[in-house]
């Protein structure tokens, strides 16, 4: 009886995952979709705790139920309680700009969970090839996802700024990858007793996760997180194989396939094949950077009062927000600027590049946080034709997404990436902290454009000054 109830819990869980994900694909239903998924998850978890029957075959081969000790229940509830409090607090407190790295961190936790399951289940399933494959695969993928996510986390929060490249890292990584797969295969084949080899495999998989992520530049981290996300999904699915558990299978495979597709879509938005992201590894100034024709000119500076005048007498202003805006926490000031200009009859819009920020849609979330109207955020394909009629484009903390080299310079590493064609506007003003290159680590020819002036300074500080200056003009 309880067994059937548990299966029903799992069925409900599986269906809510599918419906929830589907609803999250639409802005109107997204929030409810997420909650539906969460509800299904709670049902699956509670069902497992209370309805799971622990059957062990006794000496005569008859399955008998083994009661679960109070210690075990205590530990389960303790761990869930602690995890809920920590998870809840962290997720509630985190600043919206730090959200991508948090997602990466949570993803790593899931991976680690899958890896630990593998470590624990190995011994008693050593003699069943099918189960062993699921255990080893889940453990290896979970470990790679764990260590990879931690590196992605460190890169996004700036602790690990520069991509680290061993000489011939592609070859080393490939060898290590083949090594891990070979080792895993051997584990399934030989199934050695004891835990030494198992822990060795665990360690090697962790190392591979690090090697895999370390050479990839910060700008490509969203793609990597999305990929690792689908890895963890896959690891969860292998857990589903092991336990013949359908909710783990549905959840895992759903995330695995949806995550893979999402990864490819992100790559498409940057116009780079996935292999290029993983093996090409530019970003942060490597061998690929600094190429291209050296047609630099001089850079023009613009002061805050001149800029205020320029914007005040414009008809149409387009703001291009980038990650620099997010870092400086300038999303509220920019909204203030927008309202001030609108009051004076200037039409203001935001041009959102598909990969603006650190994740697709990241910019939209940040601007929505500061109450910018949804309709003012215009996607790349819709805004590009409008630049011809734009008087001033204000680029705040964005760089690579407005670099004309993506269109004109086949030698550039970002060649082919669709960009916001800001050079079609009458004036371009770029707010940057310094002349340093963008995340892709390449110089931006836009800054040397005749129509372009630089407005140096921290985005928040500079924009606050601009707003103050505008207020004095009437």
């Amino acid at each position: 009886m309880t067994h059937h109830l548990l299966e029903i819990c799992y069925l409900i869980g599986s269906v809510t995952f599918i419906i929830g994900m589907k609803m999250m694909g639409n802005a109107k239903t997204a929030r409810r979709g997420n909650l539906i998924g969460a509800a299904g998850m709670i049902i699956a978890i509670i069902g497992t705790i209370f309805l799971h029957e622990n059957r062990v075959e006794n000496i005569d081969g008859v399955p008998t139920e083994v009661p679960v000790s109070a210690t075990v229940y205590g530990l389960i509830f303790g761990a869930i309680g602690l995890g809920t409090v920590i998870g809840w607090m962290t997720a509630k407190k985190v600043q919206m700009t730090k959200m991508p790295e948090l997602v990466s961190m949570f993803n790593g936790m899931g991976g680690a969970c899958a890896a630990l399951i593998g470590l624990m289940e190995y011994e008693q399933n050593r003699n069943q090839t099918g189960a062993l494959i699921a255990i080893i695969a889940g453990m290896v993928i979970g470990s790679v996802s764990f260590s990879g996510s931690i590196i992605a986390y460190l890169k996004l929060n700036g602790t690990m700024n520069k991509p680290i490249r061993l000489p011939a890292y592609n070859i080393i990584n490939t060898i290590v990858m083949i090594g891990v797969i070979g080792f895993a295969g051997w584990m399934v084949y030989a199934s050695p007793a004891g835990h030494v080899m198992l822990y060795a495999l665990f360690a090697v998989a962790l190392v591979y996760g690090i090697l895999f992520t370390v050479p990839i530049g910060g700008a490509d981290m969203p793609v990597v997180i999305s990929l690792l996300n689908s890895f963890t999904g896959l690891a969860a699915a292998f857990g589903g194989f092991l336990y013949d558990n359908y909710v783990m299978l549905t959840g895992g495979i759903l995330v695995g396939s949806a995550g893979t597709l999402l990864t490819l879509e992100m790559c498409k938005a940057m116009n780079r094949p996935l292999s290029n992201v993983i093996f090409g590894a530019f970003g942060g100034g490597g061998a690929a950077a600094g190429t291209g024709p050296d047609v630099k000119g001089s850079i023009k500076d613009v002061g805050v009062s001149d800029l205020a005048v320029m914007m005040n007498y414009s008809k149409k202003v387009v703001i291009v927000p980038g990650y620099g805006l997010a870092v400086a926490q300038a999303q509220h000031v920019i909204h203030e600027l927008e309202m001030l200009l609108e009051e004076r009859g200037v039409e203001v819009k935001y041009a959102i590049h598909p990969v603006a920020g650190r994740m697709p849609g990241h910019m939209n979330v940040l601007l929505a946080e500061s109450n910018v109207a949804y309709e003012k955020l215009v996607e790349m394909d819709d805004i590009n034709p409008e630049f011809d009629q734009t008087d001033v484009v204000l680029v705040v903390g964005a760089n690579d997404v407005v670099n004309p080299a993506a269109k004109s310079d086949p030698a550039s590493p970002i060649y082919g990436m669709p960009i916001l064609e800001v050079d079609r506007a009458k004036h371009i003003v770029v707010n940057k902290r310094s002349m340093s290159a963008g995340y892709a680590g390449i110089d931006n020819l836009l800054f040397y454009d005749q129509k372009c002036s630089m407005f140096f300074g921290d985005a928040k500080k500079a924009l606050t000054e601009l707003v103050a200056e505008l207020k004095t003009m009437d």
Binding site: M109, G251, A258
Partner: protein, 102 residues
Amino acid sequence: METILNFIDAHKEMIYFVILSIFVGVEVIGGVPTVLHTPLMSGANAIHGVVIVGAIHVMLNVNPDNILALILGSLAVLLGTLNVVGGFVVTDRMLEMFKKKK
């Protein structure tokens, strides 16, 4: 060869299930506007937290005298919970912001 065929035959429901789930996953994501990619990724991240079900499974089967197993198992449940709770809450926070404007 024989073993492979036997394996497929013995697990054909599972294989159907996996293939159909892959299609469901692809279908569910198809045509989603870029704006929603981040919340969707975050939501998917929460959903693979279902791996916690496996961790609870392990714990329920653990021998209470095996201290190492108890520690590892509790850690697995803890990490899984972080993934699930953190994942859903952070996704909700992101989506809340979209809602406010509508």
